[in-house]
Amino acid sequence: MLLAEIVTLLGCTELLALDQTGSREIAGCFAADLMSEVLAFCGHGPLLVTGLTNVQSLHTAEVVDAQAILYVNGKRPDAEVLALARARGLPLLSTPLTMYEACGRLHRGGLPASTKQRGTAP
């Protein structure tokens, strides 16, 4: 699923203009508010869906090579986090939907879960 399609599907606000990254292909999704759970269970290069807007969400996204972060419940990170994301070229989206609704739409739209497979390296 293209990032631009996710914007449409979830009625997202682009906190950082997508530009060329709108055509970025997203292969999977992982959603959590606890970053340790992302580090423990997330697959490689997902769309990271979270309600956590602090700088740790960005660092976690960096560690798992997330393609973008989607903030739910209309949340937005502060200017410092936005500046850091801009410097890293990481697209940030915000949707007014709850995490459940956002994930439901993404799954129904064909975006699979991004989880570590048993027996594979993180």
Partner: protein
Amino acid sequence: MLYAEAFQIRGGDFEHGGEVATRIKSICKELGIRPDLIRRLSIANFEAEMNVIMYADQADLTFMVLPEAVRVVVADRGQGIPNIELAMTPGWSTATREMRSRGFGAGLGLPNIKSSVDEFQVESTPGVGTTLTYVVRLDSSPGLTGHDRIRQYHPREGERQDAIAGPEKV
């Protein structure tokens, strides 16, 4: 030794939590270390860094790239861990509400580190501090970590496997 650098981490410094891990990740990329190994190391470093921020006063994280492995030593001064076996139990946590509001404190830190690396050692003296030592071997094959141990923490394995396959096409 191919590369070595020491980083200081300050307890309570949530605002900068994760910067050391991301800095080391970029060094590893520059050194041409395999991406899957960088990721495992970054997970361990991030968790170790946040552990210091949440539970210790101060720590030195020493990052060393040897010909056959990356070795990290995180030596902190702080409250220490009274019961290491308990602290290694996935889901067990003494985190405060503030720590959890930062996205950590899920009781996965030490188990997450252990499952991400090839060698792991933790030594702690209550009231003095804790030293973590971990190694990621540069020749390690994908799939040889203790990853399965941490997956036991998740209660709905069958559903997760179903979810990986994606939604059914109607």
